[in-house]
Symmetry: C2
Subunit: 349 residues, 2 copies
């Protein structure tokens, strides 16, 4: 990268930069896979007794990530989760991950190694059996194309209940934290860019330790790799499941549209971390807006029949019930502690 | 698009331009799917008695396509084939296609409709059961992320022979034509860009009719959608199969590397169309170089056991045998009519 970096110590000596053309794409790919336990096979044939699905994801530099403050290793890890999440949400066990990196000339082999290290770490944590990589050129910036393939016992999929009545809406952790972490990083970037070149030598990385939690939620979110196993152990299949990446509001609206239902979300039930609230206060942002429309949460929303609630809560004690389904005519509603019902707005494209 | 277009008549009145934000992403997606017979489901569960595979492809503006001379409808069609090809090559019947379009602000809803029309046409021609689309923002240009999912009877896959001995190497049509078509388009673009603004009003689209065949090979290649069925009818499964998009040379080298074999390709056996030869002559390019390293061929290379040759030729009379496997020590060789053996070079990243 040629950009100045917010998150890197300025005292480090310039690291080695190897152009990809020096090594050659084929040789670079060989080195990237060496010692990982994976072989670079573009097609992975799943278990033929299972139901197999795949999903396409695309992450674009400048839209989905900013390399000024996102370490490449974290980006690699997060990009893998970005594709694995939708499979877990629908109760599929991820089996294969296929990456295509489109790289502009400013990326050196060392950058790809960093990014790849994060991808491999995520693949191992999530017991991926086949990981493949293709490298190609880009005119501007980095684009990450991902296909994730997952599988599940067809009986399990068939036995999933349909969302109905007043089924419970649950989420797997607090939300809005990643969005507030992103705000910290954006603020530091602006401040950093204002430093005159003459003062760069004495630049010290700011102390961001009091934002540690919200920064980690943005830069290195995690997904419980055992979620599908736990559902199986508890003999529960959610009636619906979503991976929350574009904000809770958009996810709830998607749920209502896809299943022709209404939904009531209770404001005081939405879990929000204290650091999220503090940062929202610091920048004069409404906490609820941050939590509902923030994005990058990397949490799950599940719809669980009332009858399964006890079993579910036993297996996933940290999951919060934030509302329930209702008649489609009601639409997607946010219920305030005073009982007022406000239609949920989702941010557009 | 804001660029001036080589391929469009300058006398046309300015067409309507609708910003995506005016309609909203959700509504635009609804309109795009309306009347197509497809519903926008991100995950498609394949037949659970079949072996399912998926592939990831990424096409980048300025690298894989130039919108100055590539009509969006053709690009949509071609991008679908780009992902379907590798499935056919491995004898999988494509079932699902999942697209993500990352769009910069210069793209209007009308552009996406054009692109989508081509994608839908390809999906229908290739009997795709599930087609999905996601739209997102891009800072610069257009990126097309694609996942194709295919399936096959596990017994068919298991019964495929391994490449061995002097198995035949065949290709499904002439090569180098698309690359020469691309050269015509690039040349016209350069000429067009030299026209002073004062003369733009009187600009007439050049007559490119004598390049019709090579232009169509670049802009609107086709794949026989019955290829997997035909293999089944002939009771043949290729020992190996590749979709030729990065040049025949790179494909032959990939074959040798993946299967630990050598290969001999006979120069005089490589089918080259007369328009390809004429254009190569016109621009003083070596025809063989164009054919071997050109790229964008969208043809298949299959490895067929000698014993299957007759059956194969009966089912696919237009397929050419261009060489055969040999001992790995020999590497990938090009054999001249005089019998000289030249190591095949593949272009890098």
């Amino acid at each position: 990268m040629k950009e100045r970096k917010v998150m890197e110590s300025s005292s480090s000596t310039a690291p080695k930069r190897t152009q990809i053309a020096e090594i050659g794409k084929r040789e670079l790919l060989r080195r990237l896979f060496e010692g990982t336990g994976f072989t670079n096979k573009q097609l992975f044939a799943g278990d033929s007794s299972k139901q197999t699905v795949s999903i396409n994801r695309l992450m674009m530099e400048g839209v989905d990530f900013d390399l000024v403050y996102t370490p490449l290793k974290h980006l690699g890890y997060k990009s893998a989760l970005n594709a694995l999440g939708p499979l877990y949400a629908r109760c599929y066990q991820p089996k294969a991950l296929s990456f295509t990196l489109a790289l502009s000339a400013r990326f050196a082999a060392e950058d790809i190694v960093e990014l790849w290290t994060g991808i491999v770490a995520a693949a191992k944590e999530h017991n991926i059996e086949n990981l493949s990589l293709e490298l190609k050129a880009s005119m501007t910036g980095l684009a990450i194309g991902i296909t994730a393939q997952g599988e599940q016992d067809p009986k399990t999929i068939e036995s999933a209940p349909k969302p109905s009545g007043t089924d419970l809406i649950c989420i797997t952790g607090n939300i809005g934290a990643a969005y507030m972490g992103l705000h910290v990083l954006e603020r530091e970037k602006v401040a950093f860019n204002k430093i005159p070149a003459s003062e760069m030598a004495s630049y010290k990385q700011p102390d961001l330790s009091r934002y540690k939690y919200i920064l980690s939620q943005y830069l290195s979110p995690e997904i419980n790799p055992k979620i599908v196993e736990q559902f199986k152990e508890a003999s529960i299949i959610p009636a619906a499941g979503y991976f929350i990446t574009d904000g809770l509001a958009a996810t709830v609206k998607e749920l209502c549209q896809e299943h022709g239902t209404g939904a009531k979300i209770y404001l005081e039930k939405i879990p929000i971390a204290s650091q999220t609230m503090e940062m929202a206060k610091e920048i004069n942002m409404d906490t609820v807006t941050a939590a509902l429309n923030g994005g990058d949460d990397y949490k799950f929303l599940f719809v669980i029949p009332l009858s399964e609630h006890e079993k579910f809560h036993k297996e996933f004690p940290n999951v919060d019930i934030i509302g329930h389904l209702c008649k489609p005519e009601a639409g997607a509603l946010l219920v305030t502690p005073e009982g007022a019902e406000i239609p949920i707005q989702a941010q557009g494209f």
